[in-house]
Structure formats: structure tokens, C-alpha cells
């Protein structure tokens, strides 16, 4: 295995530890928003899609694949963060007064 790959594994394991530890007991009302936020983060694969766009071959297949990769990843990222934000609107600071 290449050294880069191995240090990739080290990084992967450490990051997984961080991921596990960073989630402490979450109240159920936040389960869905948190899932949605995490889902948006998994859209990081867009970076992979962009990178793939830099070594595009001439074939139409390659272009289509990369286009699809960028598109789906973007849907995930943009949609993911926006919908999470909408879910979290209920946690805006509470209104001081409300008219009856």
C-alpha cells in the first residue's frame, strides 16, 4: 500500500472517532435536522466530482459522468443545507411577546 493511502487510513480512523464523539445525546426533535445536516456534509463528494472534472477525457461518456456527478452532488449540497435550515426555523429565539 502506498504511504499516502496509509496515511489516508489514519486520517479516516481519526475522523471517524471525531464523528462518533461529536454526537452526544441528541434530543429526538433534533434527530431529523441533524440527519439532514450530516447528509448535506456528505455532499463533500462534490469536491471529488470537481476534481474528476479536471482530468476529463474527450469521450462523451466521461463528460456525461462528470456532469452527472457534479449535478447530483450539487443537489445534495445545496438542497441539504437549505432544507436543514428550514427545519431549524422553529429554534429561532423565542418571540418575546405574542398577541393573543
Amino acid at each position: 500500500m502506498s504511504e499516502v493511502f496509509i496515511s489516508g487510513i489514519v486520517v479516516f480512523v481519526l475522523a471517524a472517532f471525531v464523528g462518533m464523539e461529536v454526537i452526544s445525546k441528541v434530543p429526538p426533535t433534533l434527530h431529523t435536522p441533524l440527519m439532514s445536516g450530516a447528509n448535506a456534509i456528505s455532499g463533500i463528494t462534490i469536491v471529488g466530482a470537481l476534481a474528476a472534472a479536471s482530468f476529463l477525457t474527450d469521450g462523451i461518456a466521461s463528460t456525461v459522468l462528470v456532469f452527472l456527478a457534479v449535478t447530483t452532488a450539487t443537489i445534495n449540497v445545496v438542497g441539504g443545507f437549505l432544507v436543514t435550515d428550514r427545519m431549524l426555523e422553529m429554534f429561532k429565539k423565542k418571540p418575546v411577546k405574542r398577541d393573543g
Binding site: I23, G48, S62, V66, V70, I75, V78, F91
Partner: protein, 452 residues
């Protein structure tokens, strides 16, 4: 430098995830995570040479538009399925990155790279098809109830084994074919994996698929040797897994249960009289509703006496007052089983007389009240007495709790009270039912409130 900027993006993801876990910081957490993503994207765009800008811009515009429109148009209630759909796209993207790699560099790869390509394809594809089945189930496009072939588990295990075999073949032979077959098998596996699971368990499944899409992204990161992907993917993979376990726990199901028992068709327990749907709530949901309210009125009934929940109720009231919530107690003239029953109990628990409201003081207050928490009362808050001329209690004055913003009812089941009649309040849109013994419920809510 690029690596360090990716590291910064990863740090933003970590902070973001952490903050998403607590109501106070969740919104800012999402912004943090989003900024991390922006950093990662910009760094990539600046760093990579020879970018095919056409494809990129086209992809971003199309994808961004679709994502934004879906996210902003969706109704509140349909959000979970939308998350499933987005997640499916994420999985697809990871698989596509792996395919692009194959397309560009051919199938003659070093062993470890071949392995991650296969993994990325398999996990990404399972995520994609599985997510869309989940989406369909929640949308009602597929039947919500479990659908399975006989011996489904065996078939699924066989498919998983096939994927492993195919990836060994691909690595050894250096040809593209096995990889495409992996995609096909994985897509089928995703479908068959999710179909047998009931609609009620879908949120847990979506969370698990979300964790998988993180793993897929991480594998893609290994393929192109990009640390941002490795870290971000691993984070989501691990965090998503922990979250999945927690969601299962909150529904009293273990993960194995959800995935393999197959038939989590409904988590509704026995003892219910009516089959109209109710909004079930957990202690945490109630705690959040109470904690973010300005004014709360407790309505005790006979169930509070049976559960001997007076002290626990008072403790909850005190904790809310400490948080600046205005707390009162409404006592209906016939609550309990003897005149003054509630008074005896609340006096024992030291509730000050000034906080006790009788019927005439209470009713004008409900419309201005954020949350009414009903502890073991039933007949005295039954709107039939006001609305249904055929009801045996028609004409009795009741506490009109249904006029409040939100109503939380704590009782053990949907069984009726002394008068023996059903209560339409329980099925209202703005009513949450928390099925539990009164005392245990108060204690659980208090615990959740403290950890808010």
C-alpha cells in the same frame, strides 16, 4: 496549503455537527457546516488545473436549481422524504466519481485503489436505490408496509457476497465489466434491503443510508487521494451511525431489529380505542415545547392523583419557572374523584395558592397560552361538552384547553375517563399525546428539560 485549507473545512464540519446536536446552537451549526463546504469547493476550484468549466458550471447550475427549488418548496411534513432523496443523490455522486475514475484511468488499478473503487461504487449505489425506495415509501408511492420475498435475507446476503467476489475479479483482471455489474447488483440490493422495512421505521433507515453515503464519499476520497473527502465522509459515516443508533433507541428499536426483523410496520402500541391518528410525542419533544414557551398551564386530573405525580409535577413547574416560563395550574371543579381532590395534592406539593386558577380564571387565559400540559385529566377537558349536543356531558363547563397554541396530554393510553366517552381533543392537530404514567412522564420531561 490546500491540505491545510481542507483541514480548516473539516474543522468547520466538526464544529457544525457538534452544534447541530443542541437546540440552542443548531441553526448556527448548519451555517458552520455550510461554510466548511464553501471553503472546500472554492479551494478545489482554485487549486485544480485544467478544469472543464463548462461541465462544472452546467452541473452546478442545474443541480443547484433543483436542490434549492425542492428544498424551498417542500412542505414541512414532507421533509424527511426529501432528505432521503438528497441523500440518494449524494450516494449517486460518489459512485459517479468512481465511474469517472474508471473511465479516465482504466481498470488497471493498484489493489487498494481497486478495492476502494469497488466499495465506492457498491456503497454509493446501495445508497442511491435504497434512498429512493425510502423516499417512495414515505411519499406513498410504494406501500408503506413491509414487502419481502421469502428468504429475502438469504438473497440479500448472496448479493453482498457477489459484490465482494466481483471486486476481487475486477482487481485481479483489471477490466471494467465487473465494476458495472457491481453497480447493477448494488442497486438491486438497495431496493431489496429497504423494501422489507415498514414505513414507521423509515427515519432510522434514512439515517443509516445517510451514514453509508458518508462512507461512499470517504471511499471516493481515497480514490482521488483527497483528504477533505476522506475526513468529511468519515465524519458523516461515524456521526450518522451514532445518530442512527440513537434514533432507534428513541423508538425503542435496536438497529438489528429495524433492519432484519423486517416488520416494523407500525410502532403504535396496543390499548388504543380509536384508530384515528394521534401525534405521539416523547419526553424530549415535550421538554422542547415547554422550554421554548413563554407561558405554560398545567391541567391536573384524576390520573395525576393515581400516579401520585404531584411532587414531580411541581418540580417540573419550578424548573420551568427558573427558565423564565410563566407557570400556572388550572383546576376544574370536578377534576379527580372528590371535591378539592387536586387541591389536596397540589397543596401537599407546595404549589402556591396564587398559581391555582379555577375554571372562570382559566378559560380566558388559554388562547394566550403557549402550551397546556394535561396530566391525567380527560373528561374535564373534553370539547364534546361544548361542541357535541349528543354527548352525555354536553353542557358541562370544561377547561377549553384546545384554544391554546399547543396541547400536551400525558396519560397511559387512549382509554376514556370517568364519563366513559372518547375525547376528540386527543386527535387535534395541535395536540401531542405523551403516553406514560403521569409521574414517570413528569420526571422524564424534567430530565430532558435539564439537558436542553
Amino acid at each position: 496549503m490546500v491540505e491545510l485549507l481542507y483541514l480548516a473545512a473539516a474543522a468547520l464540519f466538526i464544529f457544525g455537527l457538534k452544534m447541530l446536536g443542541s437546540p440552542r446552537t443548531a441553526r448556527r451549526g448548519n451555517v458552520f457546516a455550510g461554510s466548511g463546504m464553501l471553503v472546500a469547493i472554492v479551494v478545489t476550484l482554485i487549486n485544480e488545473e485544467k478544469l472543464s468549466w463548462g461541465v462544472i458550471i452546467a452541473g452546478i447550475v442545474v443541480g443547484g436549481t433543483i436542490g434549492a427549488v425542492l428544498a424551498l418548496r417542500v412542505k414541512m411534513t414532507a421533509m424527511p422524504e426529501l432528505v432521503a432523496a438528497f441523500n440518494g443523490f449524494g450516494g449517486a455522486a460518489s459512485a459517479l466519481v468512481a465511474l469517472a475514475e474508471l473511465d479516465q484511468n482504466g481498470a488497471n488499478l493498484p489493489g487498494e485503489i481497486a478495492a476502494v473503487v469497488a466499495a465506492s461504487l457498491a456503497v454509493g449505489s446501495v445508497t442511491f436505490s435504497g434512498s429512493f425506495i425510502a423516499f417512495g415509501k414515505l411519499q406513498g408511492a410504494f406501500p408503506g408496509r413491509p414487502v419481502a420475498l421469502p428468504g429475502q435475507h438469504v438473497i440479500n446476503a448472496a448479493m453482498a457476497a457477489a459484490i465482494v467476489a466481483l471486486s476481487v475479479w475486477g482487481a485481479a483482471a483489471g477490466v471494467v465489466a465487473p465494476y458495472w455489474i457491481i453497480v447493477a447488483v448494488a442497486l438491486v440490493l438497495g431496493v431489496f434491503g429497504v423494501l422489507p422495512i415498514g414505513g414507521a421505521d423509515m427515519p432510522v433507515v434514512i439515517s443509516l443510508l445517510n451514514s453509508l453515503s458518508g462512507v461512499a464519499a470517504s471511499m471516493a476520497g481515497f480514490i482521488i487521494g483527497n483528504s477533505a473527502l476522506i475526513i468529511g465522509g468519515a465524519l458523516v459515516g461515524a456521526a450518522g451511525f451514532i445518530l442512527t443508533v440513537q434514533m432507534g433507541e428513541a423508538m425503542n428499536r435496536t438497529l438489528g431489529n429495524v433492519l432484519f426483523s423486517g416488520f416494523g410496520s407500525s410502532s403504535v402500541s396496543a390499548g388504543e380505542l380509536s384508530d384515528k391518528p394521534v401525534n405521539r410525542a416523547t419526553a424530549d419533544d415535550v421538554a422542547i415545547a415547554l422550554g421554548y414557551a413563554n407561558s405554560v398551564i398545567f391541567v391536573p386530573g384524576y390520573g395525576l392523583a393515581v400516579a401520585q405525580a404531584q411532587h414531580a409535577t411541581r418540580d417540573l413547574g419550578l424548573a420551568l419557572e427558573e427558565k423564565g416560563v410563566k407557570v400556572d395550574y388550572s383546576i376544574h371543579p370536578v377534576a379527580g374523584r372528590m371535591p378539592g381532590h387536586m387541591n389536596v395534592l397540589l397543596a401537599e406539593a407546595d404549589v402556591p395558592y396564587e398559581q391555582l386558577l379555577d375554571l372562570d380564571q382559566s378559560n380566558p387565559r388559554f388562547p394566550q397560552t403557549d402550551v397546556v400540559l394535561i396530566v391525567g385529566a380527560n373528561d374535564v377537558v373534553n370539547p364534546s361538552a361544548r361542541d357535541d349536543a349528543d354527548s352525555v356531558i354536553y353542557g358541562m363547563p370544561i377547561l377549553e384547553v384546545d384554544l391554546a397554541q399547543t396541547v400536551v396530554v400525558v396519560k397511559r393510553s387512549l382509554s376514556p375517563g370517568f364519563a366513559g366517552i372518547d375525547n376528540p381533543l386527543f386527535y387535534n392537530e395541535n395536540t401531542m399525546m405523551f403516553f406514560s404514567d403521569g409521574k414517570a412522564a413528569m420526571e422524564d420531561i424534567l430530565k430532558s428539560l435539564k439537558s436542553l
